[in-house]
Amino acid sequence: MKRWWIWMIAALLSLAFSSQAQALSGEEVMKKSQAAFLYPGKDFKARVVMKLINKDGQERVREMTMLRKNMGEAGGDQKYFMYFFQPSDVKDMTFMINKYPAKDDDRWMFIPAISMVKRIAAQDKRSSFVGSDFTYEDVSGRDIEDDTHVVEREEKVGDRDCYVVKSTPKGADSDFGYKFTWVDKSNFLPLKEEQYDRKGARYKQFTADEIADVKGIPTAVKRTMKNLQTGHRTEVAYLKSDYDLGIEDSLFSERFLRQPPRKWVD
């Protein structure tokens, strides 16, 4: 009889250990989520249509081709190239970002009106991306190390099982106090994010509105970021999304910033 108890305890212990080995820490969930959301493929291309909609329903459209290339592993350096179609006063403008996880980005802009390439200061990754409700970090990622991440609970979003991760900035220089991210347990895409301001009031809400399969990679092709305090929102559609196109390193250069090649910006 005593033997049976020992076996029972051993079995329970091993179960406990194995389930602990399976449970991911908050940081691991966010790392996997960033890899799934911002790093899939060797490179990525999409025609991005952003609608900036104010609380009265008035719309402004920002349209660009966005190209991204990973320079190493997920979580590592990336290069972004953007070409603007709309609005008409920024047509032909191009924009290039060298993104480094642990330090400030390098950014360059080509201003077609005076045919000038300018390097621009970029120490604030929380600033608005082209006037939208998305920040630069929302578009290209926030450093995992900037926040502490805790898995608070598990919850469904629609019919998808999700981890709910609470992230709290380590520094005091962020515009949000903390945020919750609902990360899909099977593909690790963030399906929802709720940001709270420094006073604890609801601030911004992100939703991934449509996930499509692109070359076998689940991709959030429709996204919305809503500012709950102003009622302003930005709806984004990633059209013609594609991966592993063989974008050359040489694209990310002043030459092509001035004269973007047609095959990459259509």
């Binding site: 009106a113 390097r119 970029a122 608005s128």
Partner: protein, 406 residues
Amino acid sequence: MLRAATFFAALLLAPLAARAEVMLSGFLQQNTAFNTAGQNPDGRHYKWLEERARIKLDATGDAWRLLVKGDLAYDHLGRQNEGELREGYLDYAGGNWDLRLGRQVITWGLGDLVFVNDFFPKDHEALFAGRPLEYLKRGVDAVKLGAYPEFASFELVLSPNFRESRIPDARRFWLYDPMPTVTNRETVKPGQGDIGLRVYRDVAGYDAALYLYRGFQRTPSMRPDSMTAPAKITYFYPKLSVYGASLSGRAGEGVLSLEAAYYDSREDRAGSDFAVPNSQTRLLAGYQIQPAEDVSLGFQYYAETMHDYDAYLAALSAGFPVEERWSHTVTARLTQFFLHQTLRLSAYASYNASNGDYFVNPELRYSFTDKVWGAVGANFFGGKPWSQFGQLARDDNVYLQARYEF
């Protein structure tokens, strides 16, 4: 000649165009600048008053692109109907080289309204009369060859004909004139073209570039036929070569820009001809930061020094203003966006510590919709009566720009 060339180019391009993606766009624009300090020399009260239409044709094939930007304007201040080919060029992109042929706007260097290695023609009148920024630059008729081997990038610009910068019109702006009684004046343009080269690459995370130019000063010098009893003044563009370099990259929280150039005044290397600018060294240091969201601050320090200052002093006639050996200028620009970047406030100020010259340009620009924007701004000038901005002290103006883009 130019017409025939355009016609043949069009003929040659017709079959290519059939396979191209062609886009037409443009704008309608109203631009008015009111005087705030008094009337013009010609008695008018406006620096600028015109309606303008732009047509832009953009045709792209696989390796080539044709771009034409043409303006038609009606000027209410006497110039009347004006047509202008702003840009019109053909691009061909090879593997690691490319070519641009035709009228094109080229901007080199890093300065913000300060030009050290930007040798290309400008329209100073456009800047002072409150026109949109794109009119600050004039196109050059040139061949630009780009070569992009691994170790560096090269841009060579060959212009068969020299094109000058446009200086403010003496009927609209109060310009310093040391010999106002001499009315017989002529302008002699160089019969040759000019050549520019830029070589650039990344050096340890910094954008580094070298520049060479061989051509002429873009703004004219004046030579009277006699110093004691002048009857005729000739404007001419002295020979000039420039050797320059620039560097820009991240420093601390912002972006640091450094530029330097040696201006070799080939027309008068001794510096003893009073009508020709002395050889110079130009130095620029700029720093730009983003102190808060949607706010950008830029500061520049700019210095010029004459190389043959003693010869300059010796050659200067009595009664002519005396420049300092060193000229020090500081500038600042604030740019701030509001309302989801649809409203932009920008303010630029320049002050020359050597002669008290200043130029201030605040501007507010709002995009009413994605297709319609308007701007209101002002230009204020001051300093010595003969200096760059000081002579324009009576030319202060407030301007309006409105544009519908299609």
